[in-house]
Amino acid sequence: MASGIKDKVAILGMGCSKFGERWDCEPADLMAEAFEECIADAGIDKSQIEAAWQATAIDTFNVGPGAIPLSAALRLPNIPVTKIENYCASGTEAFRAATYAVASGACDFALALGVEKLKDMGYGGLPQRSRGVTNDLFFPNVSAPGAFAQLAAGYAAKYSTNKEDLKRAMAHISVKSHANGAKNAKAHLQRSITEDQAMRAPMIAEPIGLFDCCGVSDGAACAIVTTPEIARSLGKHDLVSVKAIQLCVSNGNESGFNDWDGSYIATTRHAVKRAYAEAGIKNPRDEISMTEVHDCFSITELVTMEDLGLSADGRAVTDVLDGVFDAEGAFPCQIDGGLKCFGHPIGASGLRMLYEMYLQFQGRAGARQLKDPRLGLTHNLGGFPYQNVSSISIVGRHEA
């Protein structure tokens, strides 16, 4: 039995650009903005970085193919750089790669950077694009909100949930995230909204309305990782270390075999089970202090609370409406404002979530600071509910 990644790797520094409609920025500018903060935080020289991973999901539309964009943007010293694309889990995938590189002893300092520039498309929402040569022959004419809206149909059918209650819980999720995002200068959307606004917003994909959707933004975020020993040798205190990183990818079961009812994300359940085991977490409700989950749409966040075991199956609507995931609740979720307020520059999102965790553990989250967080969980979900990539990271104070 492998021993896993727990406490073998520490975050030495992190950076995050301002997310938003960065009309005046090239992807290289966003990368530099995040990196300058990160390298200053890490306290090492750029020349000490030995390997790097770049996460970009829709490269042909923005950053460009291959890993040259990162290497050239930062003028990295001719080190190995790899581009990673794995849907919305790309950012976490880059972090996983850098973490494994350090844990294996292959290098002392590794960089994970996610970047995406989506706002050059000329219209709102994610780019409408081909699904591939063969997929275009039969894939339904589905947008991202259209894919995820179906979680509501599956969930409501399974639990006989009243449509109005479900919509209200979805609205509550967005109201909560906007309230959190209003306290974050790096968020794209920094205004509070009301439940009424969310409920009455124009329909995007039944029952998902405009305020049930996350924003679409430009942004970059990055991390430099090393071993806890090296971090200490560099004079670092209050270390934040990696407890678990797990990934699960659909194998065609949900989309092709008749045992999935559309009310949950099967891959998240597999991934989180493995992540809790890797992190040594016995009871997540007692041990997890906060989460940053993939709230691409409010309904996604709702079912994710059950997938993570933070709500019992069929209880998420009640828990959400009871404020369990609000900033003052038992399990604050999207304390930074989430995808909802940051928007979702796809490759950057996983690292942006880890950035908030890192700030919270170091007591640097300002007006959003939670009291004494111990363990935090980040979650990404890429693709469609019926075939997707799900990633879970657990990070926390290094107490070993």
Binding site: N141, S143, G146, G154, N253, G256, F257
Partner: protein
């Protein structure tokens, strides 16, 4: 005995109210107001002459084994492809046995379908074991504010022709070729160009049809007064009755032209009217079918004792009853690309069809065939190298499994306002098939009031995507709620 062994029809559900056309255009041409009564069947954006042909032929073949079909003859003047055999697409969507199949497209005249029917009868006469399917299907474009726009409708009808269990015995026929140009559509033109109706009536219908019919009746030694059903497809409302009188037919023999309920479905119309009349025919009835266009085909049939024992699932009557009134003239024009409509940037995505990939996937995409695991019986679509059942996972055990006739239920769905669709919102969802398997797929012709999780659906061959850059279109199957 050879003759018609089965029949079927298809009408698009959308029934454009002609008043909406007259209301929009009467200011320009007041004569349109007089034609603004009733309705016409018009294609949804994802329908064309191929998809309607598949529907009509499916209605005709019903549960019959399709392996016995030896020929598929497709008649239309509005086929989506000038060079890509439309009948072969129809045959593959019908899952006919293609090895040994004759396929042909007959076109360029309003009597294309009666000529196609004669070819089918010739095949049966030469080889009594061969069963032919003859399908007429038409989706003509019309210019804004024209008589044609008021009169033309879309639809399809299909006949099975052979020697087993004949419903209507073929007695005789007479054909006559004559380059009488009542209208034409030249290469590169989108629309018909016609001549004065009075001349078409007096020099065309009233002279050419009687000559052919009288020759046929003489040959068959049948009195005109013995004819029980007289079928003449024409966009001139009064002509059939005038001809009936001229020929000495009984008044009630003249078939209703369906001008006020369907519109004139062009090359498909003779078969559509015949299919409608076959529903009403009694054993022994003589049926006279006339196709008019650059001459005339006249065919005589006699209904057998089997005529009332085999009916299509829908037929013309069934489809007449399934219509949905549509009063939005703009929607009709948009669906037919008759307007310079701004479709938005999301419509600009390149829709190239990669023909090599299409070819290797066509059992799935055209035939809707999935796979069934020979080890555990699990059904999956598309077919795959490994069984999807996690308890099985066997490799190379998938037997081809036809699923186009399957019914299923909607497990999850949404109505998507964001994605580009010609008829937003776009509906799609997870269909769980009753016989096993599931697929996330497009749903069309949704009635928002009746649609919900759990509703029953069946499958229909439709246009998936239109590549306007190259003039190509992809087809695939969509789910439609069962009524």
């Amino acid at each position: 005995m050879i003759g018609i062994t089965a029949y079927g029809a298809y009408l698009p559900r959308m029934r454009l109210q002609k008043k909406s056309i007259a209301d929009a255009n009467g200011w320009f041409d007041a004569s349109l107001n007089g034609l603004g009564r009733g309705q016409k069947a018009v294609c949804n954006w994802d329908e064309d002459a191929i998809t309607m042909a598949v529907e009509a032929a499916s209605d005709c073949l019903g549960q019959d084994t399709r392996d016995s079909v030896g020929a598929l003859i497709f008649a239309s003047t509005s086929a989506p492809f000038l060079d890509r055999q439309n009948s072969v697409v129809v045959a593959e969507a019908l899952n006919l046995k293609t090895n040994g199949l004759r396929a042909a497209d007959v076109t360029a005249s309003q009597r294309a379908a009666t000529s196609a029917l004669l070819f089918g009868l010739d095949i049966a006469a030469g080889n009594s074991a061969a069963r032919s399917v003859v399908v007429g299907s038409e989706h003509r474009l019309t210019q804004c504010a024209t008589r044609e726009e008021m009169l033309y409708g879309d639809g399809a009808a299909a006949l099975s022709v052979g020697s087993e269990k004949v419903l209507a015995e073929f007695i005789a026929s007479h054909s006559h070729a004559d380059d009488f140009i009542d209208h034409y559509r030249a290469d590169g033109s989108k629309y018909d160009y016609g001549w004065e109706e009075r001349w078409v009536r007096d020099e065309g219908y009233m002279k050419i049809v009687p000559a052919a019919v009288n020759a046929l009746l003489t040959q068959a030694q049948v009195q005109a007064s013995d004819i029980a059903h007289f079928i003449l497809a024409t966009d001139q409302d009064r002509v059939p009755a005038m001809l009936g009188k001229e020929l000495g037919l009984k008044g009630d023999a003249v078939a209703d032209n369906l001008l006020g309920t369907v519109g004139i479905t062009g090359a498909a119309h003779p078969l559509l009217l015949l299919a409608h009349r076959l529903e009403q025919a009694a054993p022994g009835d003589l049926i006279l079918l006339v196709g008019f266009g650059q001459g005339c085909d006249a065919l005589l049939f006699r209904a057998t004792d089997a005529i009332q024992s085999k009916r299509p699932k829908y037929g013309v009557s069934g489809h007449l009853a399934r219509g949905r009134a549509e009063e939005n003239y703009n929607k009709f024009q948009s669906f037919n690309n008759l307007l310079e409509k701004g479709l938005g940037k999301r419509a600009e995505v390149d829709k190239q069809s990669y023909l090599s990939a299409m070819y290797r996937n066509k059992a799935f995409t055209t035939g809707f065939k999935g796979g069934k695991c020979s080890a555990c019986g699990t059904v999956q679509i598309p077919k795959h190298r490994y069984c999807v059942n996690p308890e099985c996972g066997a490799s190379e055990t998938q037997l081809e499994y036809p699923m186009s006739g399957a019914t299923g239920h909607i497990a999850t769905w949404t109505a998507d306002e964001l994605t580009f669709d010609f008829n937003p919102p776009a509906y799609f969802g997870m269909v769980v098939f009753d016989g096993g398997g599931r697929l996330m797929m497009d749903i069309t012709e949704v009635d928002p009031e009746a649609f919900a999780t759990g509703v029953e659906v069946d499958l229909h061959f439709r246009i998936k995507q239109i590549d306007s850059q190259r003039g190509f279109r992809k087809y695939f199957w969509k789910a439609i709620q069962v009524q």
